[in-house]
């Protein structure tokens, strides 16, 4: 059963990757990365039990804790970029 679930997760990863490659906007790709992150956490948890190595769950926990930092960095990036662009526009005339 773990096998079936992990295959479902792998297929979903592939679908998310298709979305990341197709785009069209950068946000779609970002969304795909985000989905990919949670799918990885699930895949790691399932595989840890598939192998009978529950101590490997640390890895999934690490992702669960810090994977969203990247998305926050993107928000911060867009925010400061839009502020900088507004500033440039004011400077330019």
């Amino acid at each position: 059963m773990y096998l079936v679930v992990s295959i479902a997760i792998l297929i979903t990863m592939a679908l998310a990757l298709v979305r990341a490659l197709l785009g069209p906007s950068v946000y779609d790709r970002m969304l795909a990365v985000n989905m990919f992150g949670t799918k990885t956490v699930l895949l790691l948890s399932v595989i840890a039990f598939l192998y009978g190595r529950p101590d490997f769950l640390d890895l999934a926990l690490a992702y669960a804790l810090i994977n969203f930092v990247g998305v926050l960095a993107v928000l911060e990036f867009f925010q400061s970029r839009s502020i900088r662009r507004a500033a440039d526009r004011v400077d330019g005339g």
Binding site: L10, A14, F36, I47, L59, L61, A62, L65
Partner: protein
């Protein structure tokens, strides 16, 4: 079945790699690199290499995206397309690939017990770890004790890289003073404090991220983990704070002298353990002499050098992050 998973993940990995190379939008490339890192970690994990997978997770999940975006803020978003020399490089790549594929025919099958790698020192490590060091995680035993010189070298590579980045990007004294050209750019560095949801959730999670990092640091002898991973995870926690409240605030919470102290102190701590070994009558980085019982001494030595590695890595990553952020502000 393991093979099937690995092949599937590797196929996705190859697709992602091609897409990263092909895209001219650097922002898209950064996003795809995130997927690449996740796939890589899953792949390591499927192949039972949890320590490496954790390293990939610790670095790839937060820090690399943050640093890439920091670099992207300093440059243009689109890659300048290079037209000349395409066919030549294409040819070189194709030839190299063919040679590499040819070389793999001589490779032993995955997990073959008769493979040369399993005939050499690996069995000895597996045999001797319980006896000489007495910890369950052989990877940590190899990295920390049997091959302690290599890890020492790696720490110094990290420290050197940090020094190099600081030299190139430059560090300003008193980094967090507001920039001279007005409030506008100061608000640009003020982080996500106007966004309620990230602020509250992020702040709630930071102590737990740091605690998890320390947990990984101190349990390297028992499960996947160790100094490198811990340093990266703790650094991610503090970078998260920098994203939420602005880089200046993060620099106030963990000031630059502390960061420098971590970098230098961590590397020195590692070296000091080695010297202590000499002083107590052993050889450099021989931990057996650190305690009455050689096995206890080994465990103590590994624990201390892991702390050293963690300090050095955490300090270096944060210094590099601040260097990028400071550069973006000015």
């Amino acid at each position: 079945m393991v093979i099937l998973f690995a092949v599937f993940l590797l196929t996705l990995l190859a697709l992602t790699a091609v897409a990263i190379v092909r895209t001219e939008n650097l922002f898209v490339a950064v996003m795809l690199t995130g997927i690449f890192s996740l796939l890589m970690a899953a792949n390591f994990f499927v192949l039972d290499a949890a320590d490496v997978a954790l390293t990939e997770a610790a670095v790839g999940a937060g820090i690399s995206t943050v640093l890439f975006l920091g670099a992207l803020a300093l440059t243009a978003e689109h890659e300048r397309s290079v037209v000349s020399g395409r066919w030549l490089s294409m040819g070189i790549v194709v030839v190299t690939t063919l040679i590499l594929i040819y070389a793999t025919f001589d490779k032993p099958r995955l997990g073959d017990p008769r493979a040369p790698v399993h005939q050499h020192v690996a069995p000895w490590y597996l045999d001797q770890t319980p006896e000489l060091i007495g910890i369950p995680n052989v990877v940590t035993a190899v990295l920390g004790s049997f091959r302690g010189y290599d890890t020492l070298g790696e720490v110094f590579v990290v420290v050197t890289a940090c020094i190099g980045v600081l030299f190139i990007l430059g560090v300003r004294r008193g980094g967090y003073s507001p920039s001279p050209d007005g409030d506008r750019l100061t608000t640009a560095g003020s982080g996500l404090r106007h966004h309620l949801i990230p602020k509250v959730v992020g702040r709630l999670l930071i102590p737990f991220i740091v605690l998890f990092g320390l947990y990984v640091l101190f349990h390297g002898e028992y499960g996947p983990g160790g100094g490198f991973q811990a340093g990266a995870i703790i650094a991610t926690g503090i970078i998260l704070y920098a994203l939420l409240d602005g880089e200046a605030q993060a620099l106030k919470a963990v000031p630059r002298p502390v960061l420098m102290g971590m970098v230098v102190g961590g590397a020195t701590l590692y070296g000091a353990v080695g010297v202590a070994g000499i002083a107590l009558g052993g050889s450099f980085l021989d931990y057996s002499v650190l305690a009455d019982d050689p096995v206890k001494g080994q465990q103590l030595g590994i624990l201390i050098i892991e702390v050293g590695v963690g300090l050095a890595v955490c300090g270096s990553l944060l210094s590099i992050f601040h260097a990028f952020a400071a550069r973006g502000r000015h």
